[in-house]
């Protein structure tokens, strides 16, 4: 079978990969490019652990043939994490105990990023709706919703510590 060359933008950088036809973006990210923050979960579109942003919108990299993102802008968790620190959303997850095992966290953070880009002050209901496709089997979700609320407070500039919930 003939391999194909695909070009796209990954975390601000142009990348070119040589793949078998219909290889998933998830597999390319992890196995070829070493971007391992994006997790492989169910490979069914049911768990959200492989969520990445394509042109700013959350999508499931396990269901995306990499050819489909040719020429598009892909951002993974690596793309929003500063070299010498954490993104405010990551900090909020850390402070709110928004993870235990951490497997769902990259997907959760990417959905949170997209949500806050669209809606800087989402309600708890809107947050719960946004992460409804991201399964967490540790936290019971409330600490994750707390974390996203806290990140929203900080990113939208109120800057106030809301205190423990």
């Amino acid at each position: 079978m003939a391999s194909v060359i695909v070009n796209f933008e990954l975390c601000g950088r142009d990348v070119e990969v040589l793949v078998q036809p219909m290889t998933t973006l998830q597999s390319v990210l992890r196995s070829q490019l070493g971007y391992t923050a994006t997790k492989e979960g169910c490979r069914q579109g049911g768990c959200g652990s492989c969520t990445v942003l394509v042109d700013g919108e959350p999508m499931l990299s396990c269901l995306l043939p990499v050819e489909d993102v040719a020429g598009r802008r892909v951002v993974t968790l690596e793309g929003i994490t500063p070299i010498d620190g954490l993104h405010p959303i990551q900090e909020a997850f850390l402070e709110s105990n928004g993870f235990q095992c951490g497997y769902c966290t990259p997907g959760m953070v990417m959905v949170a990023k997209a949500l806050l880009d669209h809606d800087p002050r989402p309600s708890r209901e809107a947050i719960a709706g946004a992460i409804s496709g991201n399964l967490c089997r540790c936290t019971g979700y409330q600490p994750i919703i707390d974390a996203i609320e806290k990140a929203a407070d900080r990113l939208s500039g109120s800057g106030e510590q809301t205190g423990g919930r």
Binding site: T24, T51, L60, L63, V111, N134
Partner: protein, 281 residues
């Protein structure tokens, strides 16, 4: 992975040419939210696949009072359009944000029960589907598109290219009942539309999902409503008939017995919502 060729046509004519040349063994995929899981798990082992994401079938426009929805319009775009709130509601109740960013309206029509919630709302709006082949496009009612469980009226060489939702009279209600608040497969999905004149029902649609081998209309229940004065009595009668004429099934989500009970309950609730809403929106 068994795929040797993955085609991403850039136009409808290119897509139709590929389909004509490769025949029925060419797997057609739009958003990939149904097909890719099967491929990932090795349940589906296609060698040739055509992805429609870039084929230019994603037009969404209002014309002459109709809403035209291209086959690859995503569920997110359906949710955000404001011409037909009942379609937004159906999209909001389908899957998760990430899936809605990928899944398409056309693809949803091929999703087997208990999926296919968008089609339920579309049936209540008298939607037609455009099937395009080498000889041109034919428009058929969505109800005639379904011919059985995972079978449809598409002929060899044809693609579903879009949907036409006419301007229709009446009030609508949509309820999806699942086991969770959101992102959940359907126990039952109900869409109703009722047009009235002086309190008398002039036209009624009752569409059901997860209530048979494909999304369907409860025609006998619609006939019960037609000509009646919409109220508790007519609503109860129509709901009972809808439950009786539907063909629910048992799966991991719900049993046939339970689904039938819920069909009756939620048809009544949807109609009740319209009745309580008053004569005019």
């Amino acid at each position: 992975m068994t795929v040797t060729d993955y085609f991403l046509p850039r136009s409808l004519s290119e897509a139709l040419d590929l389909l004509g040349a490769r025949g029925p063994s060419l797997m057609v995929m739009a958003g990939g939210t149904v097909a890719m899981p099967l491929v990932n798990d090795g349940i589906s082992l296609p060698t040739q696949v055509m992805g429609l994401r870039h084929a230019g079938l994603d037009e969404l426009r209002e014309e002459d009072g109709e809403l035209y929805i291209g086959a690859t319009v995503t569920l997110t775009r359906l949710l955000r359009q404001q011409a037909l709130p009942v379609l937004s509601e159906a999209a909001r109740n389908t899957a998760s944000w990430s899936v809605r960013n990928m899944a398409t309206v056309g693809g949803n029509l091929f999703t087997p029960p208990p999926g296919g919630d968008i089609a339920v709302a579309l049936l209540a709006l008298d939607t037609s589907v455009a099937l395009t082949g080498p000889a041109g496009t034919r428009l058929i009612p969505l109800g005639a598109f379904y011919t059985g469980f995972m079978t449809n009226a598409l002929q060899d060489g044809e693609l579903l290219t879009g949907l036409r939702v006419p301007r229709v009279a009446g009030d609508t209600a949509f309820i999806k009942f699942g086991r969770k608040a959101s992102n959940t497969p359907s126990v039952v999905t109900v869409a109703v539309r009722v047009a009235r004149h002086d309190g008398t029902v002039t036209d009624a649609r009752i569409a059901l999902g997860a209530a048979g081998p494909h999304p369907l209309r409860a025609s006998a229940a619609e006939r019960v409503l037609a000509g009646s004065a919409l109220g508790p009595e007519a609503i109860e009668a129509a709901a009972a008939v809808a439950a009786e004429e539907s063909q629910p099934f048992s799966d991991g989500v719900a049993s046939e017995w339970y689904r039938r009970k819920m069909i009756r309950l939620f048809v009544a609730r949807a109609l009740d919502r319209i009745w309580q809403g008053g004569e005019d929106r």
